[in-house]
């Protein structure tokens, strides 16, 4: 009895380690992509010195960050200062347990998957708040305050957008949500839930504190915001958490509104069978890569929002839009409006 349980836990641990390694590699090359993409958008070349085409640049960055000295400010609250980056990375990684990568590949296919991810992403703000407070620095505290206010405000809009998806799919299970979108690209929820999809994506970018909503870091006003006092590997943890969260929000966008691992050629005669051999995880990767690219695109092209504009957008525009559209969806589900809501 006990032995079987330990074997089970062992295999789960191995899966978790595999997932984490893949994520870390993805983050490493996402930073490389970011510098390249933004470079080309700004008529520069970007990193091209280390390795062929600069491909070893992220490895060099990791080595650099790990070799740097960790400085703990003498006026800081030592224990909380150390624990803040750990909280950040924990919440960023733990959310991946419920993400389905393919029809049969998910670490934990739990019924309340959406709720689980949402609960964990709401914890991410602790890492930021504690880091800002424990640093005992003005800039860090300002950054933490802004980040916390921003993520609390946008979590509401994001939650309502996800409520719309849950109502449309009639489930909180990710696999069930994906199956409910089966039947071709026009069955995916981006079409019937278009306003919610816009709200989700805007608040997703705001939740991760990325440009154009990056007032929490705002290097031109706050140096680096909440992690201004962190260096070396402790800074690297915050950095990792931010990028893992970016990939997570992009993956959720693909799953909730763009059919997850479903093929985009479903329901199109000829193309459907021609692409039937492609595994679902490839489609998911293509979709999430596009959204991650959008993050970089936004950063290269949009000017930063002002703080009061961010609050206004969140409270006065996004939340009312979601409230209206939730009523619309409720009516559509009640009257079984096709082709989307016939099976609920």
């Amino acid at each position: 009895m006990m032995m079987a349980e330990f074997v089970l836990i062992g295999t789960i641990l191995l899966k978790i380690i595999a997932m984490v390694i893949v994520l870390l590699l993805a983050v490493a090359y996402l930073t490389f992509m970011e510098r390249k993409v933004i470079g080309y958008m700004q008529q520069r070349i970007g990193p091209n010195r280390i390795g062929p085409l600069g491909l070893l640049q992220p490895i060099a960055d990791v080595v650099k960050l790990l070799n740097k000295e960790i400085i703990i400010p003498s006026a800081s609250n030592r224990f909380l200062f150390m624990i803040a980056p750990m909280i950040s990375i924990f919440t960023a990684l733990a959310a991946w347990a419920a993400i389905p990568l393919d029809q049969a590949f998910v670490l934990a296919n739990i019924n309340a998957g959406v709720l689980y991810i949402f609960a964990l992403s709401s914890l991410g703000v602790y890492g930021i708040l504690i880091a800002g407070w424990a640093s005992n620095s003005k800039y860090a505290l300002f950054g933490a305050m802004r980040a916390a206010a921003q993520s609390i405000s946008y979590e509401i809009a994001m939650g309502f957008a996800i409520v719309g998806v849950m109502m449309a799919a009639g489930s909180l299970n990710f696999q069930a949500i994906i199956h409910a979108q089966a039947g071709g690209i026009w069955h995916w929820y981006w079409l019937p839930l278009f306003p919610l999809w816009m709200v989700y994506w805007i608040s997703g970018v705001a939740e991760t504190n990325r440009a154009p909503f990056d007032v929490a870091e705002g290097e031109s006003e706050l140096v680096a915001g909440f992690h201004v006092e962190y260096s070396g590997s402790m800074f690297a943890l915050f950095f990792l958490a931010e990028y893992i969260n970016m990939i997570l929000i992009s993956t959720l966008a693909a799953i909730l509104f763009f059919g997850g691992w479903l093929s985009p050629f479903e329901g199109i005669p000829g193309l459907e069978t021609a692409f039937a051999w492609v595994p679902g995880v490839v489609w998911l990767l293509i979709k999430l890569a596009f959204f991650v690219f959008c993050y970089l695109w936004f950063r290269a092209t949009f000017p930063r929002y002002r703080y009061d504009q961010i609050m206004r957008l969140g409270w006065k525009i996004l939340i009312p839009v979601t409230l209206v559209w939730i009523v619309v969806i409720a009516l559509a589900v009640q009257w079984q409006v096709g082709p989307w809501f016939t099976g609920v």
């Binding site: 006990m2 909380l80 019924n111 709720l115 609960a119 964990l120 709401s122 708040l129 504690i130 609390i152």
Partner: protein, 202 residues
Amino acid sequence: MMSIAQLFFYVSAAVAVISGFMVVISKNPVRAVLFLVLAFFATAGIWMLLEAEFLALILVLVYVGAVMTLFLFVVMMLHIDWIVHRKAFVRYLPVGLCVALLTVGLSIRMLGPSHFNLANVAAPAAKPADYSNIADLGAVLYTDYAYPFEIAALLLLTAIIAAISLTHRRPKGRKQQEVSAQIAVRRQDRVHLIKMPSEKKR
């Protein structure tokens, strides 16, 4: 031999009790709030064992993710004097101890082995793997308890509106930008292009 589930229960229960105790005795209020967060987490773990995953996740989402964040926000903003804090602690210690002992005694009396054993209250049977706690809860909430649920929701809404209207003061003489007016501005309102020769002719 304990099973993993039992081990998980004892660890969560111990963490809940210890962190609850630490909330009370912590000198630093920020640490007290963080211990309270830990206590919520441990409780969520125990609820998870009870197969009430919806409640466990909502506990984390609402209390840890929203309420405690605001708590932390406020506590970080305040500068609480430790010494005054400790004096009050000593002053109220006897009363606090009496209340604590009374509560513990009553709990033991009511929940102790004499009333709350397996013979009186049978252990709940484990649900099958495809059992959905959320679907069950939703069904009950919107049928049997529809009116209490809706009344509670309305009460909360009233409380929100009341709290905001009681504390909200309309600012006087404050310069505020009108966003709709800003957006409605066209180029013709601000800039005039005047045609003129590029150099002056003599």
